[in-house]
Amino acid sequence: MFAQGFAPRRVVVTGMGIASPLGLGIENVWNRLTNGESGISAIQAFDTKDLPARIAGQVPAGTKADGKLDLAEWIPVKDQKKMDRFIQLALVAAVEAVEDSGWMPEAEADRCATGVMIGSGIGGLQTIQETAALVVENRARRISPFFIPASLVNLASGHVSIRYGFKGPNHSAVTACATGVHAIGDASRLIALGDAEVMVAGGAEAAICELGIGGFCASRALSTGFNDAPATASRPWSKDRDGFVMGEGAGVLVLEELEHAKKRGAKIYGEVIGYGMSGDAYHITAPPDDGDGAFRAMKAALRDAGVAPEAVNYVNAHGTSTFADDVELGAVERIFGDAAKNLAMSSTKSAIGHLLGAAGAVEAIFSILAIRDNVAPPTLNLDDPSRESPIDRVAKVAQQRKIDVALSNSFGFGGTNASVIFRAAP
């Protein structure tokens, strides 16, 4: 990747925050995830009678003390209306992550060395839907002055920077369901190349509205056959899987240059050692049967990390519970070859659904916690896989196993693929 003779700086993870269908707080969510709990339930936000998909992974309402979301505890009421829900969720995860890292600098130079890169697959869809209704009613003059800033994808990064005074690079990835990994990978490179010392990076999504559910239904991407048993609907690799379950939430990581983190005595969760990207150049929503794009993204990440496939102990799969699960499986088997039999790979989307632009960030957090605790989180509902594999897909129950290196995949519409590799803290 880098010109010969150039040594990129090392990047570590020093803070993490999450808002997910399993609640808030990394310890709370991780406990529930590894206990095999599901965060999927009937959609509360609107009447689903006209739509074939009626379930989703929604961030539970309740108090912070219970690991649930009461926005008033995080964002002043008068500011809430200035941001779509995806920004609100991003702020919650960012506040958790920044507080976890202990990096809240007052000095101007430190603030200028700290940037933000939080993306979203879609942005303020709910706000766009509500506002478009005014236009339909011929009331365009009633559009809120906050409509545009509430809807724009990069305003998640904007709000986080304003909250903490982070004046470094302020950026945003928008690559559909690969957004989270691209944000983490790109932000890591900004640190590696010296553009910043610290980056607050991740993804956020809140598309559980008629436009979001209806739109993905129309592209035949969502599960519709398990509305009466929500917890069983997201079933990656299962023979009878019938589409993904939409989830909402946000994952945010504080990424930091290794020496900077060591100097301030920061807690280090792990190191970002590899990042790889590719394009399918094939179809707007489907991957090629041979999973070539996924294969090349993983290969590029392994090359960047400088590790052989057999060094990887755990893969957090993209595994959305669609036909493409087996395409990814095939690509992982090809990359790992004989080492596949020693590999654990799970899809945590089985528990929380597909968080679209937030998925890669939330799953990066799970990958890092898998390394920290030597635990592979389970793939729920995997009773009867559509095909056998030498790879252990951690069916239904979490597994204690030695995990030093973990790889996480995210693939998005448009044929965009990204993989990131983490290693235990140096």
Binding site: K78, D79, S144, P145, F146, P149
Partner: protein, 80 residues
């Protein structure tokens, strides 16, 4: 206080998230109540909606205090 003044005060409290006691007639939305330019646009829209009046942009620019808003709305109502 008039009914209009009461209603204006309530809207200001709700939209700017400020304590009621601070919303005096002389209070400036921007200097005293923490509003920015977008907040004042939204506030004027809320007045229009609540009172069924139209506040053109050039008039809206002159509404800088709570009293300005009350007087403008009362004048509109008297004219209607």
């Amino acid at each position: 206080m008039s009914e209009t003044a009461d209603k204006v005060k309530k809207i200001v409290v709700e939209h700017l998230g400020v304590e009621e006691a601070k919303v005096t007639p002389e209070a400036s939305f921007i200097d005293d109540l923490g509003a920015d330019s977008l907040d004042t646009v939204e506030l004027v829209m809320a007045f229009e909606e609540a009172f069924g009046v139209e506040i053109p942009d050039d008039a809206a620019e002159k509404i800088q205090t709570v009293k300005d808003a009350i007087e403008f709305i009362e004048k509109q109502q008297a004219a209607a």
